[in-house]
Symmetry: D2
Subunit: 140 residues, 4 copies
Amino acid sequence: MIKFTYKTKVYYKDVDQMGVVYYNRYYEYFEAARTELLQSMSIDVTSIENEGYFLPVITSHCDYKVGANFEDILLVNTMINKPPKATMRIDYEIYRSSNNELLVTGYTIHAFTDQSGKAVKPPKGLVHILKSNIQSIGSD
Amino acid sequence: MIKFTYKTKVYYKDVDQMGVVYYNRYYEYFEAARTELLQSMSIDVTSIENEGYFLPVITSHCDYKVGANFEDILLVNTMINKPPKATMRIDYEIYRSSNNELLVTGYTIHAFTDQSGKAVKPPKGLVHILKSNIQSIGSD
Amino acid sequence: MIKFTYKTKVYYKDVDQMGVVYYNRYYEYFEAARTELLQSMSIDVTSIENEGYFLPVITSHCDYKVGANFEDILLVNTMINKPPKATMRIDYEIYRSSNNELLVTGYTIHAFTDQSGKAVKPPKGLVHILKSNIQSIGSD
Amino acid sequence: MIKFTYKTKVYYKDVDQMGVVYYNRYYEYFEAARTELLQSMSIDVTSIENEGYFLPVITSHCDYKVGANFEDILLVNTMINKPPKATMRIDYEIYRSSNNELLVTGYTIHAFTDQSGKAVKPPKGLVHILKSNIQSIGSD
């Protein structure tokens, strides 16, 4: 399993009139988190796109347990369990840093397409790096 | 089944550099659509909240088939199949108006809480109106 | 003067924990309003862009008087006073529909560029339509 | 002058179909930046609000020179030149980190209100801290 923790903070822009983060904003945290997970393995999405590959989300899912509040520091655990085949799944857990409370869990599933939106095989370089990182961390 | 169609339009604010609506923005269309579905039955969320009831989302899910583009007119079919018990599920389908193409499907599940976030029974008035509307449309 | 009124509604996505619309969201209403102003003159931005013209915002400004609330209906008066030259200015006033209260005023200034971002003259068709509409409404 | 530099990064959520950050998103960077400027002086906005003070934006302004792109690192210089009186002005400059290019400049003006939205004098603690920090950095 590849695991990366992305740290972010809740600002006014994210919080609704119930005083908690609006439900679709967690998907923005997920996006930043997976971008940084890839970056942690020296993969930047811009380079992938410049090579003609796109990773559109085909499924998104989130379960909300406790709402995050303004000025909370959030830790977004971001995990890839299997190398990509036709699709790639990324899992997320968001914790409130101050008390280690689990706030939300979720996942996104990504396809691989060319610029025209046609499904293609995942880029070999990406598969190679992900496989290496999944194996190097052991048998989970 | 209660069914309502909410119409909206895609603006620049919603579209990413792939030229399609960013994946979390569909959840904003879902929110507007369910607010208008309730409004179509003379229920406004502000009044529900003024009575001390809140309907936080506890699960959100979306499957993306085709991306919506800038200036597309979208039709958001919004459906409630069962009266709420401890939770309420709302289903959505988004079509591109110009060619009736199905773009995304999804659902949200809502809890009922008081202002402090404690789970409560759904407000009787809401349950009554939803039950009446589900029954009045027949056996589906 | 060209004047168009765009109608929109405030949803949860727009409202912050003070219970009023978050300050940058009014700029999204401005964008929708100017898109519909152009549409009211049979100009769609997609066609302008397909001809190779872009209208990036070079200045945005907003003065906030009273906050808009959840489920408010908003009327966005959108005005063009002069035909575009090197730039085009659009003015906005947002009223709460229920009580005709003026909530915010603002403006955006747009440049004309080609796809590479280089400044170009405004598209002749657009200038023609705007001039015609400004004149046809008389001496203001 | 108080000056603080907030560092952030551009993600997909912020970028429009021109490939640059959507014009109202810079105001979200401004908000995060001023929250961190205050934090750098041990002021958190949550505490100010818990004491009954709110700092709503009454004017926002932004001039756009060059667009920020996906995965750009941005440096948001955030400046307070004068202690607050009835209002407080904060200035911003956003640079692209990779080439020190100035992308946007802007400012926000804030009022001080109580929870009901009524104008009040700025909280003494905040004024004291801001005055001390403005003076301690010398004659600019």
